[in-house]
């Protein structure tokens, strides 16, 4: 019964608090904090946000609610954030997509440079999940096969401008091979199609590929980072294709004009959370690296990533529209 009471108390907390506070930054937070998730409910970003949002809510003493606003490679959610009050009560958890979008869309409804990155939360490589009946078991064999049979292999991606598309484009470019891109609506669908044998491979997070590998429908023998990964010690693609690296990341972003007192307070709480052993273990089991950078580091990182993405996007021939 205690659980029930706790749940009801929590839900009451979620519901309360619609009044707009005009308190100063020192008192922050004075109200419910809203996390915009610019993706459909149930995606990887939701799960990752769950890792730290409960603890963050405890540390800051205010409930945190999530709102999913999916669409257009996170543009819709970001546009909502850009219009929100810069009082730290509306924040957004977003992936590397935010750095890709300026090179993909000619008329973004916001200015990426004006957004205030609070922290780079995590960073993680993609695992290359390959249909298990294909006749190669390491990266070199895959490249040799692709060179001998140009245009035969296919890879599922999550559509235009998705991180998986960039990872694939970069591989084709650096290894000099041609793996055809088959766009899907999301990682889930492309994973199913690889498992069913309709598509040959997919770049996706470790945790999403693992169940398929366990049931024998897929194998993984490479990932997009630079060091051997996890308990399986999966070798990086860079060991075969020199210079190949693609990392996806999650960032916490605030609306334009958010004061540094607020981002500082958030950073302090975040670095405390990411130092906790339980959080570390949870991230490690999914092969995710906890970062929890400062706001300045996040800003530098975002600028840098925007330049890198721009180069990749141009090299694979995508035009802004």
């Amino acid at each position: 019964m205690k659980q029930i009471l706790r749940a009801i108390a929590l839900s009451a907390g979620l519901i309360a608090g619609a009044s707009a506070g005009t308190a100063t930054a020192q008192d922050y937070p004075t109200d419910t904090i809203k996390f915009i998730i610019p993706y459909a409910p149930g995606g990887g970003t939701d799960a990752a946000a769950a890792v730290f949002s409960d603890r963050l809510s405890q540390l800051l003493g205010q409930p945190i609610v999530k709102e999913n606003h999916p669409g257009s490679n996170s543009v819709i959610g970001t546009a909502l954030l850009a219009e929100a009050k810069p009082d730290g009560h509306t924040l957004m958890v977003v992936t590397a997509a935010i750095a890709n979008n300026p090179s993909l869309y000619a008329n973004l409804p916001y200015d990426t440079d004006e957004l205030v990155p609070v922290s780079i939360l995590t960073s993680y490589p993609f695992v290359l999940g390959v249909r298990s009946d294909l006749p190669f078991n390491n990266m070199q064999e895959l490249i040799d096969y692709a060179k001998a049979n140009p245009g035969e292999l296919t890879a599922g991606t999550s559509g235009r401008g998705s991180a998986a598309q960039l990872a694939l484009g970069l591989l084709n470019e650096t290894a000099g091979i041609e793996i055809r891109e088959i766009p899907f609506k999301g990682a889930g669908e492309s994973l199913n199609n690889v498992a069913g044998g309709f598509v040959d491979m997919v770049f996706s997070g470790y945790e999403t590929v693992r169940p398929f590998a366990e049931s024998g429908k897929m194998k993984f023998f490479a990932h997009t980072g630079t060091e051997p990964l996890g308990t399986e010690q999966i070798p990086p693609i860079a060991a075969t294709v020199e210079g190949y690296e693609y990392l996806n990341w999650l960032a916490l972003v605030a609306p334009p004009g958010t004061p540094t007192e607020i981002t500082g307070k958030l950073n302090e709480a975040l670095s405390q959370i990411f130092a906790e052993q339980e959080v570390k273990d949870r991230l490690a089991s999914q092969n995710i690296q906890g970062v929890a950078s400062t706001a300045e580091e996040a800003k530098t990182y975002l600028t840098q990533e925007m330049a890198t993405s721009k180069a990749i996007i141009e090299s694979i021939g995508l035009q802004p529209q």
């Binding site: 019964m1 929590l10 669409g71 819709i76 309709f198």
Partner: protein
Amino acid sequence: MELLSNLDIGFHAALSLNNLVFCFIGVLVGTAIGMLPGLGPLATIAMLLPLTYTLEPVTGLIMIAGIYYGAQYGGSTTAILVNLPGESSAVVSCIDGHQMARKGRAGAALAIAALGSFFAGTVATLLIAAFSPALAEVAFLFGPVEYFAMMVLGLTAATLLAHGSFIKGVAMVLTGLILGLVGADVNSGTYRFTFGSFSLTEGIEFVAVAMGLFAFTDIVTNMRNDQTTREVKAPSLRSLTMTGKEFRQSIFPAIRGTSIGSLLGLLPGGGAMISSFASYAFEKRVSRHPEEFGHGAIAGLAGPEAANNAGAQTSFIPMLTLGIPSNGVMALMIGALMVHNISPGPYVMVSNPEIFWGLIASMWIGNAMLVVLNLPLIPLWVRLIQVHYWVLFPIILVVCCVGLYSIQNNTLAIYFAAGFTLLGCLFWRMRAEAAPLLLGFILGPLMEEHFRRSLLLSEGDVSIFYRSPLSVLMLSIAAVMCLIILLPQIRQGRKVAFEEEA
């Protein structure tokens, strides 16, 4: 027997007081959400998900599952009573269910829906318990080609929903397909028909289309004469319960619907959605009185209601056994598991049997709760729609509009509902039925996606569509169905030169 011992573990877990209470909260919230227009189960569960983090994993899952099938149930209730399909799966229930209500059989319609759903839920739960691991593999037989064939089959079935002219049904499906294409194109990311609006990049809101074409149009056409004589008959005690004849008439459709739903529910991406109208089309074909369909045929309600619930239940199978989400709600359940450090996948059954079997047992308990909760409420619902129409229609309008706003915190959807009201009235004047349009609207983007993906994979070789036996089978069934519909129409068309309906 292993099955029995497994179910024993399951019921042991599900029957704890805590789990029962949360199962009840889940179905209650779900029913309410399903009846309110706008907010669907996906948005509700996303909002309530943080609440479940504080619960035991199995308790959290039981509550989410309760919301999911409770919402399906609530959606059917408003579809029958006020012709308002809150969920895509309830579109079909509008057709004959609402007609029954207009003939004074609202009580019977609700009872048929409740008992049909319960029957389907029971059978599907047993199926999950007995065969999940084997059935899970079915999902992997379906690639882009097979999905495309399934969409063709589904849309052919959709034209059967109309009881008027077949060719107008096809035209309505096509209109729906086109409207469904608005938004970002999956392959190239190009925005089509959005006219520069970022809010349209995800397409036109389904709920806005459904409200405009069904509920609002219905309000207008109800008002054309004198509102006091709306075609709902006064309640009598008899009208609240089902007659023995109605019960017998619903048995076989419910069994057939359950089979169709259980099978299609296994397929991720649209399977469960197609099941209700596949069942409708099937019932219309096998019926000895196909002319009753569209005018309150019992089989046209019992079959789809059972199919829809069975499909909702078996869509858990890929999630539970393989860790693959077949729809948004399943994806959220996977998220809920991962928060508790349980990795979804083939090993959950072995490593956490109390979660796996507890959830399955709770589905049956939840379905039983829905029946117990809703059967006594039927007289209340029936009285509710018999209040004066001038009270009822402003309520429908206002609640729908607030609901539309709540979907994206945006008034655009409300304007669209207004536009679709005008369009709905036009269709009503032209005697073109809206149900096929709505189904085309839902399936259009999926159909295009799979069609283009198939050709992308085959590098433009169209023979890919007849190299897969499954695809050939489904396309042939669709072709045969078209022939069966068209032949008598052509023959009839020659015989009957002039025909006018009063």
